[in-house]
Amino acid sequence: MELNLNGKTEQIQDVQTVADLIGHFDLAVTQVAVELNEELVPRAKFAESILNEGDTVEIVTFVGGG
């Protein structure tokens, strides 16, 4: 599937939902905030948020350094 992911066009295989995408990058659900087509996805709805060809996704990882 082709996604516009954090500003870059990426081909990502075998992902159907936002939760799949988080898993694909080896991230934990609790450490990210995700926007799908410019709408924030509630964490409780990651598994039911279906990705479609050409979707724009922003994944923001929780940062603790400083």
Binding site: Q31, E58, V60, G64
Partner: protein, 353 residues
Amino acid sequence: MPDSAAHSCASDLSRYSRQILFKGIGESGQRNLLAARVTLVGCGALGTVLANTLVRAGIGHIRICDRDFIERDNLQRQILFDEDDIAQHIPKAEAAAAKLRRINPDVTVESVVTDVNHKNIERLADGADLLLDGTDNFETRFLINDLAIKTNRPWVYGAVIGATGLCMTILPGETPCLRCVFETIPPPELNPTCDTAGVLGSAVNIVASIQAIETIKILSGHREAVNRNLINIDAWNARVTNLNVASARETADCPCCKHDTFEYLDGKLGSSATTLCGRNAVQINISTEATIDFARVAKKLEAVASAVKFNKFLLRVNVDDHEITLFPDGRAIVKGTSDEEVARSLYARYIGS
């Protein structure tokens, strides 16, 4: 030159003329800034840039809290420190305050050398109009978040690792809080720190400068101008994105905003340290339900520590002349010090908390 001649009068605004000319602030905004008080938690990379910017901008009173001393590998990004401070073993809060008082004597700069925790944060934040995040760990940020929500005071989250960073301004009752957006602390294996993954000073400067601007908006009386998004900064690629997180206030099951519980401030979550008598060691206790993945923690530490060893019972690593033994439940024993603040700092920097 006598002190009285060297110091400008607080009512003389000429020092701030270029800032007053900026229509977003103006003279009334400047007077508001001069009357404002902030508590800065943490005076490392973010904290020195924040303090430097705000003291030059004429914030009235800043209380700087930090637990650490300065090391050589801090100088690449911690802009208020120099070689002399290291040679004289001056704590970060003290060294920063001394520099800042020379930069702008109009500002009252207070320094407190301490580990900010649930027992002392209310006192350290006493009188502050706003709380500022210059910390290096998740736990203290959730502690600040708890206090800010409970006492209805704004705080400005900022964090950075490598060349990426985040900034978010929390206006209690108006915007989502940090736990509405990120509910829990990531486990250590998913949690790079500046001491394991590195950090660029230039990225720190961008994040802290955005934090400082949001702080100045609030304290100068321009709350309406505050950026209410989660701001994501990729300094390496000069890419800044704004996530509209407003809906998280409604959709998240936030312990602070929805349930009025303050687990970090109440000491129910977070870490505590205990000196192990006669062993030159400190035990760090962390409340976590997860089991730590040692293989991934070891991989994270590979680049910065020699001889990382682990089995299914414990992981052991030597850093900065100390030995850290980590257990699967997050508990650790830091050998080579009996100072709880040193141990907590090492844990935050290398394991992550």
